[in-house]
């Protein structure tokens, strides 16, 4: 992976000037590379990683993983039906996977009822959905490489040779 992407993945707030400095590249080259990545959809978005368990605003506090079995459609495979499903705002992630079921969804809802009514009223009745299996998430430890807790305090002694 290009070093520009590596540093941005770690810290999306880095300005092109700073990136140019630390990876020793020309500022213009860095700017145009970032623009290119954005245009190509390699860089999709810049966002903060929020520990929602601590934010505790009651919004979307409940999460569930849902395994979905699908009937593929002629000519369209799974893509069309997957799109119908992932367009729901409750679906925060959607993956087509191999194994005993086809789609894995991550659903967020205000409470257990919003999640279950999404499954019962929206998802399960869809024509190509053959079956679902819902797993409510109890605790998130790590997500996308980020450990969801405060950093341990520094254990090094403050000064040493």
């Amino acid at each position: 992976m290009d070093e520009i992407l590596e540093v941005l993945e770690k810290d999306g707030r880095l300005r092109p000037e700073e990136i140019a400095k630390i990876i020793k590249k020309d500022l213009k080259a860095v700017k145009s590379a970032i623009k290119k990545y954005e245009k190509q959809g390699i860089i999709l978005k810049y966002k903060a990683v929020i520990n929602k368990e601590l934010a505790r605003d009651g919004e979307n506090a409940v999460r569930a993983l849902i395994e979905v079995n699908l009937l593929p459609e002629k000519d369209l495979g799974f893509d069309h039906i997957a799109e119908r499903i992932y367009r729901f705002p409750e679906v925060t992630s959607c993956y087509l996977i191999s194994g005993s079921y086809d789609l894995l969804l991550v659903i967020e809802g205000k409470n257990i009822h919003t999640v279950s009514s999404f499954v019962a009223e929206k998802l399960a009745p869809m024509e190509n959905v053959r079956g679902t299996s819902t797993h409510f998430m109890l605790k998130k430890y790590k997500e996308d490489g980020v450990v969801l807790k405060h950093k341990d305090e520094n254990k090094r002694i403050a000064i040493s040779y």
Partner: protein, 385 residues
Amino acid sequence: MKDIISKRVKDLQPSGIREFFDLVMGMRDVISLGVGESDFATPWNIRETGIFALERGYTTYTSNKGLYKLRLQIARFLKARHGLEYDPDCEILITVGVSEGLDLAMRALINPGEKVVVPQPSYVSYDAVVSLCGGKPTYVYTTEKDGFKLTPQALNSAIDKNTKAVILNYPSNPTGISYTKKELEALKRVILKHNIICITDEIYDELTFDYTHTSFASLGSVKNKTLYLNGFSKNYAMTGWRVGYACGPKDIISAMTKIHQYTILCVPTISQFAAAEALSSGRRSVEAMKREYKRRREFILSGLNRLGLKCVKPSGAFYVFPSIKNTQMSSLEFAKRLLKQQKVAVVPGDAFGKNGEGFIRISYACEMDKLKEALNRIEEFLRKK
């Protein structure tokens, strides 16, 4: 009772900046650029192996020389990485960090009155271990003009008939400078001419940014004159595990092992298991840490440049050694005032030898956000001074 402490120890100069260290330790919310170890924790797979060794009950001694498995892996690693061949049976000793390796080397090699060349500025324990075994350090004061490198001429004129060895540390603590193969070849010729031993401390060897690190022993004909010291502390962020190794001619290693078996017995067993894991699977983590250090180096160099603090460009380790001569302050005064006024800790350069006066050591083993903040504070300090 006044003679209760041995003369040798009494004569050993306590570090002049102990007081400054105490000052740093006593303060809160300090951004420290004074730390001589990685800010990364040991990579998880290595820590996990240590835990597993403990779980399995590997809580006994190992052989004096260290786990055979580890010595064998070191031998294979050195062959692959530097083309060096050492026999794991009799040419490799596992030590408690390079610190122990160095101490053993001095005690094994130096008779009272014999001299060891110590280029300065250098890591603080070199001259101390020489003195502790009755040897005499011959200081060579490298200069900013020469990029803080030991030149063949300076080495040549420092050697006399009582000189037994020279200590070479590269990439260097505190300057971060290193030597190219060509420069090492030139030093090699001097060493061979005078038939002395070269003790190389290559603890930062994986953290070389601008060129491939050349191990001194790999320069052919000088291998039987070289005692190669290395360890896991800096490259694998394993300082607290205390594992290093010494490789060299059989007679030197066997003499060192003799002292080691009476004084240390063996390196902590779980640490040795963890070190073996570092060699077999630590590569990826080392590469990632190295890339991050390199980015920080660029950041700190451009920052110092902006502040008008000149420095020799470091090519390895995680230190820069800028001159603060244009501030008209001594190193200690600079460090003390920076600490008090802006809560940023650096190490005064004279801690590493008297020609370190006029410089400070900055360690960039520190998160980028903190480096940024520290540079802002140094800027503020220089503006107000």
